[in-house]
């Protein structure tokens, strides 16, 4: 089963709902080791995206992802805006103007997204950022796609790996983002961006079922 523009838009609407539900949790996580705005920022961005999609859903998955990218970049601000924005932009470029996405395209889009985040943010695994969630997610997605899995399987594996990756940030000392200002005191807390990445992938996986 391929993934159409409508399906992608539907999935992003679901992400917006989940972000809204988890707004306070993400704010709390960011208050502990950052500045307490991550949930608010993402919620503002995805709310704007839903308004935009309510007006008009572009014709291809790539165009929907591009629309998400520009909205997030224009509305979110902070670190998460450009990072998530770049992720969506690279994903959009990676899928081109295909009418439907198969498992390989989805895995490829995730990889492109990760490369975009790393290109912009220069974080490596272990720096206690969203990269710690996205990196294992990309690996898991690629291996499922390579072994013949479908879109739902790819995203389920990505979500599972992202959740573990997010959990792995708890003991880490942050080296990028605001949490790094805390030094040793950043250890013992879940990174908010890793958490939101895991939430996003889990929601996409749910929408793909």
């Amino acid at each position: 089963m391929g993934c159409t523009a409508e399906r992608v838009a539907e999935a992003l609407r679901a992400v917006a709902r989940v972000v809204a539900e988890h707004r306070e949790e993400l704010v709390r996580l960011d208050r502990e080791i950052g500045d307490g705005d991550h949930g608010e920022n993402l919620n503002r961005g995805f709310t704007a995206l839903v308004s935009k999609l309510d007006g008009d859903v572009p014709g291809t998955p790539g165009a929907v992802l591009k629309s998400a990218a520009t909205t997030l970049i224009s509305v979110v601000g902070g670190a998460a805006g450009p990072l998530y924005g770049t992720a969506f932009l690279r994903a959009a470029t990676s899928v081109g103007d295909a009418a439907e996405l198969d498992a390989g395209a989805v895995a490829g889009a995730l990889r492109a997204a990760l490369e975009g985040v790393v290109a912009r943010g220069k974080a490596a695994v272990g720096d206690k950022t969203m990269v710690d969630a996205l990196t294992p997610a990309v690996a898991a997605a690629s291996s499922v796609a390579a072994t013949g899995g479908d879109v739902a399987g790819v995203l389920a594996a990505a979500a599972e790996a992202a959740e573990q990756g997010a959990e792995s940030t708890v003991p880490l000392v942050a080296r990028k983002g605001r949490a790094s200002y805390l030094g040793e005191r950043s250890a013992g807390h879940l990174d908010p961006g890793a958490r939101s990445t895991a939430l996003l992938l889990r929601t996409l996986a749910g929408s793909a079922r």
């Binding site: 208050r31 080791i33 509305v75 670190a79 805006g81 450009p82 943010g121 790094s180 200002y181």
Partner: protein
């Protein structure tokens, strides 16, 4: 959305736009406000053939940056959501509105979000054929600077840099000159702060951290983030050196240096305490043979209602003294005009 927090606001989601409306009315002689995207520009922008000096950042640090828009300082400020860097759209709009043909200098505080968003804006402006340079301010000695960190935060030094570079631009210094001057100032300014009580971000509804009655945070930034070290409260005579010594050791500053001493309040600190701390800092500098040639005391780069202070030291030469003294006319800093 309901007010869930004890603040003079209506809706946490519209607090920045609501405040800008008041600012626009209060300072119609100095600035124009544009709302979508949010940009505050000096009333006579663009000034032909003048380098546009543009800054911005999350809101909640007022008067930074919008309070510094006006003759002799900033051409535009881009206010993001509270403690959230502005988006590229805002910065691009600010550059477009203020570019008088001599290009724009972007003054960026070193936070991942600010750097990324201004970077994108600079690319977009360049694509439109506007010459843009960016200077990053990273003066907070409380934070470790290395290739493997986000680097030092931009804090109090930003205010001094905006004043000095704004004066140069007003005099007609070109983009190369403004950029070089900004790098020079950024290179010789250092800061450090402390908090006695945290602040509460409107949408968060809860304080950014909690402190016991006898605790304070050393090395805080301006975003309500906790500092690097929690220590027992001490008398001012021991607090001030806890800020000053790391600053002096970092550049380093030493006997014979001439400096500007900026004693900044974090938003909820009585002026009485700021002046008290300022007096101690001046005495300590004099003891070390450092001459305080200029000073600024007050809440100029704040963290909402946080109680605390920061010290900033800028090494001066005659050029910088002259630019500091040059006329400025903004909502928050004004002299000679």
């Amino acid at each position: 959305m309901e007010v869930t927090v004890k603040k003079i606001i209506n809706d946490p989601a519209t607090v920045v736009a609501d405040a800008l409306r008041g600012m626009e009315l209060a300072h119609a002689d100095l600035l124009d406000v544009q709302y979508d995207p949010a940009v505050v520009v000096r009333v006579d922008a663009p000034v032909p053939r003048k380098v546009a000096v543009v800054s911005g950042g999350g809101s909640g640090h007022e008067p930074l940056h919008a309070g510094f828009v006006g003759r002799g300082m900033l051409d535009a400020a881009c206010p993001g959501a509270v403690f959230t860097s502005p988006t590229p759209d805002q910065v691009l709009a600010a550059v477009q509105r203020t570019n008088g043909g001599a290009g724009a200098l972007l003054i960026v505080k070193n936070y991942t979000g600010d750097v990324l968003n201004f970077e994108t804006a600079a690319e977009l402006a360049a694509a439109e054929g506007i010459e843009v340079r960016s200077v990053v301010v990273d003066d907070d000695v409380a934070v470790k600077d290395s290739l493997h960190t986000a680097g030092r935060r931009g804090v109090g030094g930003t205010v001094l840099l905006e004043k000095i570079v704004g004066a140069a631009a007003e005099r007609g210094v070109d983009l190369d000159g403004c950029e070089a001057l900004a790098r020079k100032v950024a290179g010789q300014v250092r800061s450090m702060g402390l908090a006695l009580a945290p602040c509460t971000v409107p949408h968060a509804g809860e304080p950014s951290f909690t402190l016991a009655d006898d605790e304070m945070e050393l090395g805080i930034g301006i975003h309500g983030e906790p500092g690097r070290q929690r220590v027992p409260v001490r008398p001012a005579d021991s607090l001030v050196p806890a800020l000053l010594d790391p600053i002096l050791g970092d550049l380093p500053f030493g006997a014979g240096d001439r400096v500007l001493l900026f004693t900044n309040g974090m938003g909820g600190t009585p002026l009485l305490e700021l002046y008290l701390a300022h007096g101690i800092a001046e005495r300590l500098l004099a003891e070390r043979g450092i001459t305080v040639r200029r000073r600024l005391v007050g809440p100029y780069i704040t963290s909402l209602e946080m109680q605390g202070m920061s010290l900033t030291l800028l090494k001066l030469d005659d050029e910088l003294v002259e630019l500091w003294d040059a006329p400025v006319r903004t909502a928050a800093l004004r002299w000679g005009l």
